[in-house]
Amino acid sequence: MSEVIVVTSGKGGVGKTTTSANVGTGLAAMGKRVVLIDTDIGLRNLDVVMGLENRIVYNLVDVVENKCRIKQALIKDKRHPSLYLMPSAQTKDKTAVTPEQMVRMINQLREQFDYIILDCPAGIEQGFKNAIAGADRALVVTTPEVSAIRDADRIIGLLEANDFKQIDLVINRLRPDMVKRGEMMSASDVIDILSVPLIGIVPDDENVVIATNQGEPLVGNNTLAGRAYQNICYRVTGRETPFLEFEKSFSFWTRVSGIFRKN
């Protein structure tokens, strides 16, 4: 049984594409058959984050316009044999595809994949409507900032209006040091405000920039963000996974008792 997940946020630049790339790669590393679909027509980016930009021949618009078969547009990942990317078109605009066409394409892909992950464009217009049309569940990405949370709230409202039964929140670029100083909202502050279940917290980590520079998702490696994304993948598949230590605002005493517990 396949599951179609849309990664969305409303606001741009909060980490939708990075989250899509890492969750897709992480699930593939767990042995799942995964296809990542870049639905941001005109501003494609998932290909570069995945390091697959040189292999594009056909794209999503070619598929819906019947210029090629689905299989011809799918690019096989460099590292994981069960991971594929469907790139977006760079020269078309959002109106080149309709929600009905998206649903049709996704239903064909369901037969071959366990997870279909849709990287949604920013905004709430046509591109957003296309991306959510065929999805079963959503990952809403936000950062602990007023503007991103406001947009996330709007998106959650729209997803609920479209009968989404499962909406999970990813809090990205959290800085535990700033939370401790009282200069950034904590994960629990954000959940209180948005009242949707939390599926993961990704700390602000320079390794994300390095990974993007190299075109290699960092999920699963031994960086803070890599571990956080790995945990999100486990939770996506339903495996219960405790939150990482930085995700809790621990006091001096719990840290001391933690030292004893390790022994």
């Binding site: 007023v146 949370i149 709230d153 409202g157 939370v179 009282g182 200069e183 904590s186 502050d189 009242s195």
Partner: protein, 89 residues
């Protein structure tokens, strides 16, 4: 930043939370903060007829996680009105 201000400064985390709470109420109902303020004063006016309430600390909020309506989640208006004296004046 003045001397007094420095010590009484509210952390930006709290400021952000407070701003968002107000902002999202009006976003969710699709009406302006002014209108929410008017609803609040009107509710306060009506309740005050019957009991003494703390109008300064009363809060109203529109939440989506309310009761289930016939077509899924229905937005619900929550009013938190501290009563100072149950008996009328």
């Amino acid at each position: 930043m003045g001397f007094k201000h420095f010590f009484s400064r509210k952390k930006s985390r709290e400021i952000a939370k407070d701003r968002l709470k107000i902002l999202l109420i009006s976003d969710r109902v699709n009406c302006s903060p002014e209108m929410m303020e008017m609803i609040k004063t009107d509710i306060a006016k009506v309740i005050s007829k019957y009991m003494q309430i703390d109008t300064k600390s009363m809060e109203i909020q529109i939440s989506k996680t309310g009761v289930k309506g016939h077509d899924g989640k229905m937005p619900t208006l929550y009013a938190n009105i501290p009563i100072l004296d149950l008996h009328s004046k």
